[in-house]
């Protein structure tokens, strides 16, 4: 039993960790009132998703996809997710930056960082 657990491929561990991070991030976004904490939650979730992406692309025993010659026996890791992850990390960074700048502006305008103070419009 324990052995099985130890034998779990790294990619699965990463995958599971990623999903756990997503959940933690969501929990952070939903449960914390402080905007900064919400942003932290978002980055956690973002990171989690990236880990999931990487894990999806990984093949057990695969090598880095640097193709030298056409050796069909070598199993390469799928390079596409890795490329995508890079892109999405950049995007996630951008969004985080914007969120933070919003946080600054909100604090400037309202002297508060609570998300409850952002509820002036409803219905």
């Amino acid at each position: 039993m324990f052995q099985d657990l130890l034998n779990t491929p790294l990619s699965t561990v990463v995958l599971i960790t990623g999903f756990i991070l997503v959940l933690i991030g969501l929990w952070g976004m939903l449960m914390h009132k402080n905007i900064i904490r919400i942003i932290v939650g978002f980055t956690l979730m973002d990171t989690g998703i990236h880990m999931v992406m990487v894990a999806i692309g990984y093949l057990t025993g695969g090598k880095a996809p640097i193709i030298e010659g056409a050796n069909k026996n070598i199993v390469y890791v799928d390079p596409v997710p890795s490329a995508l992850v890079l892109t999405s990390i950049v995007i996630g960074l951008g969004i985080t930056a914007i969120m933070l700048s919003y946080a600054i502006q909100i604090h400037k305008a309202k002297k508060s960082l609570s998300i409850d103070d952002c509820a002036e419009m409803k219905w």
Binding site: L26, I56, I106, M121, W123
Partner: protein, 1045 residues
Amino acid sequence: MVNSLTNPLNIIIITLLSSFLLPLIYQKSEQRAVNLFFAVLAAFVVISLSGYLQLLSGLPTIEVLTAGIEPPFSINLRFGIEEAFVTLAINVAALLGAWYLLPHLKTNAPLMLLFLIWIMGMNGMVMTRDLFNLFIFVEITAISTFVLIGFNRHNETLSAGFKYILAGSLASSFLLLGTMLLYFQTGTLNIDDLVAHQSLLTGPIGTAGLVLIMTAILIELKPYPANGWGLDVYQAAPTGVSALISVGVSASYLFALYKLLPLFDTLLPLIAIAGGLTFVMSNFMGLKQNQATRLLGYSSVGQVGLLVMALALLSQTNQADHYLLIAGGLFINHFLAKAGLFWLAGLAAEKDIKHWSHLKQHPVIFVLFVVLLAALAGLPPFPAFWAKWALVHTLVESQHYIWVGCILLGSLLEAVYLFRWYGYAKSKTNETAIVCQARQTFPIKLMVALLLLCGHAMAINFGLQPERVLLPVYAALAMLLLHKQPSYTKALVTLLITGIFTLQVLPTLTGLSWIFGMIFLVGSWVLTIGSLYKGTEQRPSYYPLLVMLILSLGSLLLATTTLEFFLAWEFMTVSSYLMVSLGKNAEKSSLQYLAFSLAGAFFILAGFALAYSETHSMQLSSFAQLAEHTVMIITLLLFGFLIKLGGLGVHVWLPGVYTDTDDDFTAIMSSIVSKAGLFGLFAVGIHITTQFNDIEALMFVLGWFGLVMALAGALMAVFQEDVKKLLAYSSVGQMGYIITGFALTSHMGWVASMYLAVNHVLYKGLIFLAIAGVLYRTNTRLMYKMGGLIKNMPISFVSVMIGIIAISGVPPLLGFGGKWMMYNALVEKGWYLQTAMAFFASAVAFLYLFRLIHTVFLGQQKTEHADIKEAPITLLIPQVFIMVIILAFSMFPHVLIEPLSTAISPYIASTITWTGHLLETKQGYWNGFMVMNVVAGIFLVPLFILWMLSKVTNIQPVKQFNIVFAAERPESPETTHYAYNFYAFYEKALGFLVKPNAIHFWDASAEWAHSFGAALRRFYTGNGQTYMAIILMYLGIIYLSMRAI
């Protein structure tokens, strides 16, 4: 070379290039940076336009391959006709929006840059065929949106922007995750490839991926209830940005959804439900909304929901041609109208729609506002009208009846809150004026022009001649140019236009249409003469709308297909609504009128669509082939027409409308416009003569309905103090007889019905014109405040007297003919108890008729009315004209009855015979000519006695207080004139029959709809975390219901 210049990829390349250049140039010269900025946007437009034109001319779809490798191994963009159309729309909107936003944008180079990137992102979303690339463009768009929303740094904007970021990032996370899951399952990111490998997507991972992607895109399209953040953005963001979010961003997401639809084959019902729910619910919630921008937000959300629903439903029906027409029509309509309205809201700078009346002081903006509202509400000639027509037809054909109900309900609600907005803008005057330059209104004007253009194009697309069917609109727009002229000129031009139109149209009509042509065209022409009496007033919109109304009535007559009919019907509804709304304090009543009229129109639409699904023909004559759905179709059409006729239960709009409109228009409204419903009945009725057996039960119910209506209308009229309300209820009663006559579905019944209709035109027009003169002179509508006016207004008195004798059916005037034929027809049909009921109703009519003439013209005159003059001559001329016609028809009834009989006998065999002047039926006979002569002769006897005795008797003319007053003297005219609560005793006896149940019912319904809207929007707590939770739950629900499927 040209091709390479107009390569859509250039949109992206140009943006990237200029994003380096712009900040540099900006530092040197602001103006040059702006020039470059517009050059880029113009280049976008040029690229997409040239691409669109090329594709239209038949060139193949442009496939843009990156990295020189075929997909799926590379990212590819596609620029087909659909993409070209959407990008063109987006880019045009972007150009105009940039023009609008320029004062804000040019303060800051990065803002311009972001704007360009934003537009590029939208373009990219439309064009890309790669799922991950889609994600990237989504993010590009989203990031620039976030920034653009927040640039003015208001409290509300910041809150809204942050909530938007939270929701948007959640959605893009879903998208990313879903993309990866699909990739994991299929190993490809290319959409076409994914569609090709759809079979691989059946497992849990694939399904989860699909659900995630679908949810992500749906969330971005702001479905109910996971759209609170979106509404906040619409409300708080700068209107220029809101406009582009509502149109541009939504368009690109919609197109993304459209692209991905093949992937979601199994999820189509869910998408449809999501869209439909959003459409109906957001329109319910719109009822409760008073913030202009948020109202537009609800409308946007609803429209997008409708589009989503239409996309989902139509892709199930496999009707490609309709598909594009409908989606494109709905899309372009929403696109243009919503952008225009958002910009207009920015110009108006007034949050609360109740304070929008300052718009009135700027007539151009006001007209733009009305046109945009009409377009948004899906009224003709704007594209949404055509799209909804086709959509309903398609859905009915594929038996999606419930969806049709949703669409019509949602559209009705939307029209109601939009036009309530119009009502507020129309109401009390606001001191503050709008400050704006022509520069700012330019994009709005262009949108309106494009809307009209698209409507025109759609008309062509539907195989109609736009210059004929859209004539009312164009004529009205042309009349608007005269708006600085005095009322006289406009009235004369109106008479001229309608006169020419009448002369053109009438000779082409035959049979019943000709008779209705006489009613509609000649009748309204004569009544229009009366409106000259308000010559000194400006009445800027009265005459354009009048022209539109009359011309649309004319086109109604010319209609041979259901589409033409419905189009003209809607024109008539809209123009009459707008005319009603011109009256003082007419906000509530005109809104009621619109709501009921549109509901009626939607019933008609549903009926036509159902008929089309059976016969596959839009010809009205194809109704003859109906078999299966006859009863249902006729019921639907009846509902529609009865609402226009003011049928009992839905008559509640009628008194308010007749009361609040201008007095001269009330005459037209009551005597002419109400006949449009009757024309509808006959236009359909003549084609279904062979199916009378099928609908006999329905007609039996309709017969009783008409009589109950006749009685209730008469009874309600009895208890009114307001003279126009009295006449309004009287119209309800008279319409009751006419409906019953139609329900008889026999030759004599129809002749009676038509005869009564012609009568009603004559005497109601006459009375309303006379009363218009009285109201003009006395400035009150309350009858007990009048009295004794016979001395001052003898001709008006004679008009009303002739009118009431004609209504009451007392021989020798023509009203008797109608009653006589009605009873004969009823007895002939075997409807005996109905006959007695009709008689009772006509006896009750005496009560209100006497009250009308007594309390206004007879009795004690008020002191302040002592010096009142006779009504203006322009009101008297049509009255005298109508009186002459009434007397002529009374003397020679066959002049009227014979054409009616001949017009109807092709459809139903005649059962009446003529011997000279003698009209005979199976039961009885009537010689109108002889009756007239006998009565005239007999009348000489008492006249002779009077004359003779006045020779030997000293007759002293006396004044109003010289009455026997129980040996006292009258205190004052007010206390002596017996007028107020005239029939108190009758109310004690029968008042319980006319408790305002219908009004209570509809008031309660409206209240219920509002409360329902209020309950629905409890989701929108304003808290970003709640919104996120809702989004998560939305995902969960979609997933669960997906599993359930």
